[in-house]
Symmetry: C2
Subunit: 336 residues, 2 copies
């Protein structure tokens, strides 16, 4: 007991000395690299298992030029829709990272400040990065590319030579809209968020594609963009109520939330007087008396895949440039 506190942390030399072998041999036994006799390997392994030797990460890093860390870049968000998305995505990333003995460093970014990003890259604290929100003409993605950091984006970037993982937002919205049309909807308004974000561009694309595919005209008057505040959503709803629309497609649950409340205040019944659907499901949509038709994506899986692809890419495996994950269309009362 008394000398436990004085006890120095074990190094590879300590185990080498104890076992009467060289440090190189211990190193090889642990890493599995280089030729090593099966008998010695086992002997060393047994010793390590018993005494619990853990290599010093910094020393390994330095010798191998490899950190076993990846960074996940998260935007600073505040809403009940965004927070769970990024948090859940992080779960997926962490899960795969852990399984591969990688740790994740979290970077929260608010604006266009690349200072922290640069520091982490230049200090070589990570082997790669995951960018979890993409914008059109993405500044961070370009920055990472310039600095030749291995990275994958969660969300499309619109650039050809970047590794991207995303839900098939465009395809999902196209299908949802097509299905709704087939159920008799005549005129569907679209309420969209910040059009700088790629996810919103993709969703609107899907809405447009469904119109084309079913040979309907696209009416710009009932496509609302950049509804980033409650007030803007309310105004849009007021406006479209004058336009003979029978369904409102909401870009996400933040917008959907405001739409449902606004309609309730206006005394308009869902789905009798107005149908409503959302391009993104989260638990927020469980908050209403009427259940909401929406698209459901597996966000944990999105994180997992992004991480797996990044790790593969770091290890020089061939990885797909573009990975699009599946979706579910959940038809509920709100479009009955």
């Amino acid at each position: 007991m008394a000398n436990e506190n004085i006890e120095k942390v074990m190094t590879i030399h300590d185990v080498a000395r104890e076992l009467g072998v060289s440090a190189s041999t211990v190193s090889r036994a642990i890493s599995g690299k280089g030729r090593i006799g099966e008998a010695t390997r086992k002997r060393i392994q047994a010793y390590i298992d018993e005494h619990g030797f853990y290599p010093n990460a910094a020393a390994q890093s330095l010798a191998q030029a490899k950190t076993n860390n990846i960074a996940i870049i998260l935007p600073e968000v505040k809403t009940l829709v965004d927070m769970p998305f990024f948090h859940t995505c992080m779960y997926g990333v962490e899960e795969v990272a852990q399984a591969n003995d990688y740790d994740i460093i979290v970077i929260i970014t608010n604006g266009k400040d690349t200072k922290n990003l640069e520091r982490i890259i230049m200090n070589r604290k990570v082997d790669g990065m995951i960018l979890t929100r993409t914008y059109e003409n993405d500044f961070f993605a370009k920055f990472l590319k310039e600095h030749q950091v291995p990275f994958v984006t969660v969300g499309k970037t619109g650039e050809a030579d970047m590794i991207q993982v995303d839900h098939d937002n465009a395809g999902a919205c196209r299908e949802l809209v097509t299905v709704l049309f087939s159920k008799g909807i005549k005129k569907m308004a679209y309420l969209g968020g910040n059009m700088e974000q790629m996810v919103n561009i993709s969703r609107l694309e899907g809405y447009v594609a469904a119109h084309k595919r079913t040979k309907r005209e696209i009416n710009e008057d009932i496509i609302y963009k950049n509804l980033t505040t409650k007030v803007l959503v309310e105004k849009a709803v007021e406006d479209l109520l004058l336009r003979d629309v029978d369904c409102i497609l909401c870009e996400d649950d933040f917008i959907c939330d405001e739409v449902v409340r606004k309609l309730a205040r206006e005394g308009i019944k869902i789905p009798e007087q107005m149908k409503v659907a959302s391009c993104h499901y989260s638990r927020v949509l469980d908050n209403y008396p009427v259940t909401i038709t929406s698209l459901k994506f597996d966000i944990v899986e999105l994180g997992r895949r992004a991480c797996q692809i990044l790790l593969d890419s770091i290890n020089n495996k061939i990885v797909p440039d573009m990975t699009l994950l599946d979706y579910e269309i959940i038809l509920k009362e709100s479009t009955k």
Copy 2:
């Protein structure tokens, strides 16, 4: 242009050679440690600023036995109440960490598995840890203590010799309950969550303390614990409706959410027929037609303080064992 890709990353020796000084001098110029002439320091700084030298983090780590990383241990949670809490707390931690040139490694834990924790500790990947949820007789906290890792907990641990940062949950609840009593409430039920979590123990403590202070009897029949599912909350509400209660105090917004819905289904009007309050505010509470009385805590600040105290403790400054942050009592329609 052509040889930019071949260009090796700059080391301290490169700048030393360029400047005709030794590596030690460059090191001293950067770190500010050791004596160094002001003129040389400036000359070196100027060169570095211009050419952008960044020290290799692994080499620094190894030489100084210091990683400039801290870990934040997050429980795996799923609800719209818990996720934003931990995510927001992480923002605060990250903010202070960044400001001090520390990076944060995120560890997500679901059960009692200490494998990852152990690996990160033993590999010396971090200088300290923040544990963001505490349980009575906390397993992880004990584990960290045994391993002599500097750490602080967000939430109390009930142990004397651990550094703890928390909102004053007990004090806040005591005040809230006292205020409500003073407004004429006669009999207040308490609906609590998982009683293994310290936060829930503290809140109930506050409820009890307010009764004592106002010389009221505590009625165990209207104190419900461990309401961890929707169904349990509903049953509790059904039960307490038979018990002549005029106010329901909810331990958090998850419970409050279910209570409000249940009361609506039962046709009971808030606040006319039943008053309702929550010991924790989050945006979830904005979802109702009637606004809810609650306690508001600054979660970002909680993260910031926890991180600052951890960093201070790592740097051998004297830090308080127990830090309790302030709260706001928000009185709204639900208790009018």
